[in-house]
Symmetry: C2
Subunit: 448 residues, 2 copies
């Protein structure tokens, strides 16, 4: 049995400067990959043992891809070639800037350079009821929960006598029309058209409704208005019910109440409405900006703490071009991770550090087959088949590791020709917390 008192971080002592990286996301791994491996000891902490390609997480939720297609073990990414690299599967709970230590569940560790690359977590804006009953989509277990819930909804709809409950099972509400919400809605609409009627011949899929609820006045608010407009058209063509300027007020697990009073009965509400920085304890309030982000200068240094850095989604770097910080996507994290590695290498040699300048490669979103939008550098916008091809190429290219790319490619090629989705497995049935009858049902069914 596990005993806390027998655990310790077990990081070897070193005379080299120790770089401690909290988080194995895009920022963390790009930093570690580009640090001069001979000059630093690198310690990475994460509470997952893998790096995930989160832009494709919605595919795991809709049974398009298996987790291993979008994730790579961190220990595999940093193998024998990284001589003084140490990964520990443990959560960092805080930082002590005076003592220059990070605090974990199983002990403290001295650092010379500390990099906070913890990213973001779902933001429910304090609504505990919504948090309890809705499905976030930020991690692989959450995506698998949502997948089980989607498939179980159709199974349950097949054996329900009550038409109101059947309708509630067939109503899917996605809150937030950012990239995750839009891509999930599109993916569900494709399933409704091509996959589900064959799987569930007893169900009437004209009664399956997909609602996409957005608080702002357009879908894909981070993208250009042209792309939002085209995306709105695509979503409408695909039969998705869009509700703009609409906020969710309450959800009790049965009924969603929108601001203004409208109600939708639904057993599946996906929460893709907002994120907040995954902060760690020990930093003073002055360095925490709006949205739980850490204020950094152009070298990603936390204001007032020259040996603590924040990169990626958790960092708030205000520049002339980006007065409200950089967009919360992979590219700023990747670029900041790389530059910080370069700067730490330089500083060690006594050279001057370089200021960060974001190079915007553009943004992409996929809505369905042959339906995508692209904001390209130079204020150009693309949509339709060619945007879709660009989306495919870019996503395959960025998936880390040869193996993942090959499998994703195989799956996609197959699906391109067949419209099929292979991974409709309820690996672990999901039971809503507190739903005793569902629990009893699963138990009696010997499921999971």
């Amino acid at each position: 049995m596990l005993k806390f008192e027998n655990l310790s971080l077990n990081i070897p002592d070193t005379t080299k400067p120790r770089v401690v990286i909290i988080g194995g996301g895009f920022g963390g791994i790009n930093l570690a990959k580009h640090l001069n491996n001979k000059d630093f000891q690198i310690v990475m902490f994460d509470k997952q043992n893998y790096h995930g390609f989160w832009p494709l997480l919605y595919q795991v939720a809709t049974a398009g891809l298996e987790p291993d297609s979008i994730a790579e073990p961190l220990r595999k990414l940093f193998d024998e070639d990284y001589k003084d690299f140490h990964f520990r599967l443990v959560r960092v709970t805080g930082v002590n800037p005076q003592a220059k230590t990070v605090v974990t569940l199983i002990g403290e560790l001295k650092y010379d350079h500390l990099i906070i690359a913890t990213g973001t977590k779902a933001n429910f804006f304090g609504n505990e009821q919504v948090q309890k009953y809705s499905f976030p989509l930020k991690t692989i277990p959450e995506a698998l929960n949502l997948r089980s819930q989607l498939l179980q909804s159709f199974e349950q709809a097949s054996i329900t006598k009550d038409p109101d409950i059947r309708q509630a099972l067939l109503n899917f509400v996605i809150v937030g029309a950012g990239p995750t919400g839009v891509e999930l809605a599109g993916s569900l609409a494709e399933m409704r058209k091509h996959v589900l009627p064959g799987d569930y011949p007893g169900l009437d899929f004209s009664k399956m409704n997909i609602y996409l609820v957005e608080g702002l006045d357009r879908v894909l608010p981070p993208m250009a208005p042209e792309s939002s407009k085209k995306t709105h058209e695509y979503l409408t063509e695909m039969g998705i019910n869009i509700k703009l300027n609409t906020l969710v007020e309450a959800y009790d697990g049965e009924v969603v109440t929108l601001k203004g009073g409208e109600q939708i009965r639904s057993h599946t509400v996906v929460w893709a409405a907002g994120v907040t920085g995954a902060l760690i304890d020990g930093l003073p309030k002055e360095v925490v900006a709006r949205g739980g982000r850490v204020l950094v200068n152009r070298f990603n240094q936390v204001e007032g703490f020259p040996d603590i850095y924040a990169i990626g989604d958790i960092a708030m770097m205000k520049t002339d071009k980006y007065p409200n910080g950089h967009p919360g996507v992979a590219q700023p994290a990747i670029q900041q991770g790389r530059l910080l590695a370069k700067n730490l290498n330089r500083a060690l040699r006594g050279e001057k550090m370089e200021e960060f300048e974001y190079f915007d490669k553009g943004s992409l979103a996929i809505i369905g087959r042959s339906r995508a939008v692209a904001d390209l550098p130079g204020n150009r916008h693309l949509s339709g088949f060619f945007a879709w091809i660009i989306w495919l190429v870019v996503h395959i290219y960025y998936l880390i590791g040869f193996r993942s790319k090959l499998i994703v490619l195989t799956n996609w090629m197959y699906r391109l020709f067949t419209y099929e989705r292979g991974t409709r497995l309820i690996i672990r049935p999901f039971v809503r917390p507190g739903d005793k009858q569902a629990q009893e049902f699963m138990l009696k069914n010997e499921m999971g």
Copy 2:
């Protein structure tokens, strides 16, 4: 929320004879595929929504394959082409032969022909302590639990101060040297050699021990003595500690006690020592044979119940060539399912049913790369590279569905060249029931 009183089986009424199949394993799906689709209404019950290729389950446990490579959704296998086919994800609890109904959690259903194809489940021979603490390997969730446990063992060994606990984490005990036990042991030995030292540079893998414990006097007892001998050689070459004529007496989660008194400290004990039929209630004792199997005649009819059939692992058909029943592998189930479909088609046309005769295509087991054994028809035996190639070809061929085959092929081809295993993801951390500290550890780590 789920409410039992609102659920019903919702199977349409029919004037055709209704065939009810319990279980979507090899027997069940081959029966359903070959029944004359226009003449029968087919109802299939299973408590999983997928058909699994269980001979490769150990690959899921050792992070070689993802679940979707070895499983296909039952609703996908029986799509639009199967007009009057109805799948229900619900457990059958019993049969009422007098009323000719099957009893499920959510209602009863009349049958004209009932086929019991429920297979087997792990047999702990009444040892509740072993059942509580050891890892069975019969289902995908169990394989994923074991995968998490294996990977978590190395992570925990990396942060353990106590050398005794570290050793217990690095001792793996597999009970039962049938195909599952042998293939799992071989797979673990390959990981120890090719994958783990790179992933865990801080651990000394010369201290990782793999024990294979077998109650009989040779490994792979269902195969020919020649193959057992060769397999024993291979396992020994690969550094696996084989203990024959050895029974497990107790396991408290920390220490395995063998009959005779020897003790092994281990946190991971895999139970692959035996199976028993997954019986359903309502059949008289007289038709239940040794090992919880249902006695059937040469038409797979249950003795005394001409409209109830049992096929596959759950069936006990005694023939001159197989006086103790057929081997518990896929082939008898496949062949019995196909013949029973043919016989039901024939009986409907007033034709005579055909007696079952098992056609033994041979048996295969893989121990490691280029190390496999084959018992071929005609009492021929093969081992080494050619047996390994045969094993590869046969397993790829039998994997159901084009997509699975392609992905398995891709993964394997890649691994053939690189020795790599890509899916080392702890998707859901496993916590041993009752281990409060481990639970607290996971919770505080925000894992899972």
